[in-house]
């Protein structure tokens, strides 16, 4: 019995090491010089610390002929992800509230159609987005990407919020209506104060999803307007002749840091979103 426990812990530790390997390698390599990595391989301990890698990655690295580091791309990702997350969450909560608590004729159909958007592959929407962005003059802009992610996100945020609001007792609604409260008053005063758990789940889900998205970013933005995911790919291409693994590792680590941070502080909520939004 004792020995099976030992084997169990051994096995789970080996597996944990395997899952941690990529993160450990990137973290260690972000401190190593490219010459060290080239000579001794990707997997190894640093010989001396190369702290310069981070400042290089942040503001000196050449990506697609612009030698300004990933700073600008990180900024693009930020000003894309934060507004898109907040706006899509707000409207998702509003639609979810209307569908679940203000039952109207055909509400289930509306809900069904909106949530179908969760399943559709992005490839089905590329051509229409080209036209919409062109007509709105938002092609190759971060604002265009915000619009895409808000509309795309509505399916998820509505799904999350509606399924949560369905649990709010109708008696509460009836009492509020008898007191003369209207649509928005009930939303602000009753529904939103009950919402923090689902809003946190939704915001974490949206933030992670939008930050990590690549296809829209690379299709509808180019050069210095791209989000950081697209920049990482461009970087991998442009350094293939003269690899700078140390600096590149630092860039990868910086690009992955925001979502990893969100995961570490909001793990429980991250999990709930995962099981609820599994269909993505």
């Amino acid at each position: 019995m004792r020995s099976t426990r030992v084997v169990l812990y051994l096995l789970v530790t080996v597996l944990a090491a395997f899952y941690l390997l990529p993160l450990a390698v990137v973290a260690l390599n972000s401190l190593r010089s490219t010459r060290d990595i080239f000579g001794n391989g990707m997997i190894g301990l640093p010989h001396g610390l190369e702290l310069d890698n981070f400042s290089q990655a942040w503001s000196g690295l050449c990506i697609a002929e612009h030698c300004t580091g990933i700073r600008g791309y990180m900024l693009n990702s930020m000003i894309m992800t934060i507004p898109a997350t907040l706006i899509s969450t707000f409207f998702g909560a509003l639609i979810g509230y209307a569908i679940s608590l203000w039952r109207f004729r055909g509400d289930l159909w509306v809900f069904g159609i909106i949530t179908l958007g969760v399943f559709l592959p992005e490839q089905m929407k590329l051509v229409p987005w080209v036209l919409v962005l062109r007509d709105l003059g938002l092609f190759n802009s971060v604002a265009g990407l915000v619009l895409i992610h808000v509309v795309q996100g509505l399916s998820f945020t509505t799904l999350f919020c509606r399924n949560y609001y369905v649990g709010i007792p109708q008696e509460l609604m009836k009492a509020a209506k008898i007191d003369g409260a209207g649509f928005f008053r009930i939303f602000w005063r009753i529904v939103l104060p009950l919402s923090p758990p689902i809003l946190i789940v939704t915001i974490i889900w949206q933030f992670t999803g939008i930050w990590n998205e690549y296809l829209y970013g690379v299709t509808f933005a180019s050069g210095p307007n791209q989000p950081v995911t697209a920049a990482l790919i461009a970087l991998a291409v442009s350094v293939s002749e003269a690899p700078q693994y140390g600096v590149q590792s630092a860039a990868v680590l910086i690009a992955a840091a925001p979502t990893l941070f969100v995961y570490l502080i909001g793990g429980k909520y991250f999990m709930r979103g995962l099981t609820a939004g599994a269909v993505k």
Partner: protein, 298 residues
């Protein structure tokens, strides 16, 4: 209930709900129908409004890229699903043994889900690169003729994507299985043990009936995930060596934006969607049947 008879105070909520609802419906239905329609037109760089029937489909189905991609998605989908399920189940069973530090282990197995496919692809690309990655490490340790060069091998590079994908998604399968295992009725387990049922029998009669629907859900989620795979493959192999690891999603992008053939690309997108429907529709029917059965038994 004519609009004119309503006060502005009543109109605003209507506007606030219906505007985003309309945008969303237009997006889901309108965009889909538009792409389906473009697939029937001779569109190249910009949408053109002619009609070419199924010509785009026959053209796509006769390209080498699509045929390789279609064969790849079958192999990739199956292997990815199998490996991820096995890993996820293994992790779930291990974590279900009342381990000390369960939360730490769970955090470790799940963190890949917070990372983008691009990052996963780039990093595994380094690790699987024979010149600098795992092969170099093992060779350096003294096993000089060790070879692990699947990433640059036409016939094996696809399995590298399977591998990286499973690394990223197995924590998710684990989470679903773990939730299933934890929902197995503990009293029933105890009763079966008291009755002298062996572990295999308990597993077959008590555990399996509770968690088999989770297996189906995991299979479906992973399969549709495989069909949508794009970023990971772009970052890891970019379709190479040659075009040996292209996937349908990459063919769509290639035709639409690299060759500037929107009609052909849309046809490929619709084909990708049909693969997805081939997975999701039977599952929807299954779920419908399941809820009906539960409702009848209740």
């Amino acid at each position: 209930m004519r609009l004119a008879r309503r006060s502005p105070g009543e109109l605003l909520p209507l506007l606030a709900i219906w505007l985003p609802v309309l945008v969303s419906i237009l997006y889901v239905v309108g965009f889909t129908l538009y792409t389906v329609w473009i697939a029937f037109t001779p569109s190249t760089l910009v949408p053109e409004y002619g009609w070419v029937g199924l010509r785009n489909y026959t053209a796509i189905l006769h390209t080498r890229n699509w045929n390789i991609a279609a064969a790849n998605i079958v192999v990739y989908g199956f292997c990815f699903m199998a490996l991820t399920t096995v890993l996820g189940l293994l992790l779930a069973v291990l974590l279900d043994q009342k381990l000390r530090g369960e939360n730490v282990f769970r955090t470790i197995f799940l963190y890949p889900l917070a990372v983008s496919f691009v990052v996963t692809g780039v990093v595994w690309g380094w690790l699987l690169n024979p010149g600098i990655g795992i092969q170099k490490l093992v060779v350096g340790l003294g096993w000089t003729d060790f070879r692990f060069d699947w990433l640059v091998d036409r016939d094996r590079a696809l399995y590298c994507i399977v591998f990286a994908g499973a690394w990223q998604a197995s924590g998710f399968a684990m989470a679903l299985f773990l939730a299933g295992l934890r929902s197995v009725d503990a009293d029933l387990m105890k009763a079966a043990q008291i009755d002298g049922a062996g572990p295999m029998r308990i597993y077959r009669r008590v555990v399996l009936p509770t968690i088999w629907p989770i297996f189906i859900a995991v299979f479906v989620i992973l399969l549709q995930f495989a069909i949508k795979t794009f970023d990971l493959a772009v970052a890891l192999t970019a379709g190479g060596p040659g075009i040996s690891t292209v996937l349908p999603s990459m063919v769509v992008y290639d035709f639409m934006f690299q060759r500037g053939l929107l009609g052909r690309g849309s046809a490929a997108a619709v084909l990708q969607l049909s693969m997805l429907l081939a997975v999701l529709l039977p599952y929807a029917a299954f779920r419908y049947w399941q809820t009906r059965r539960v409702a009848r038994n209740a």
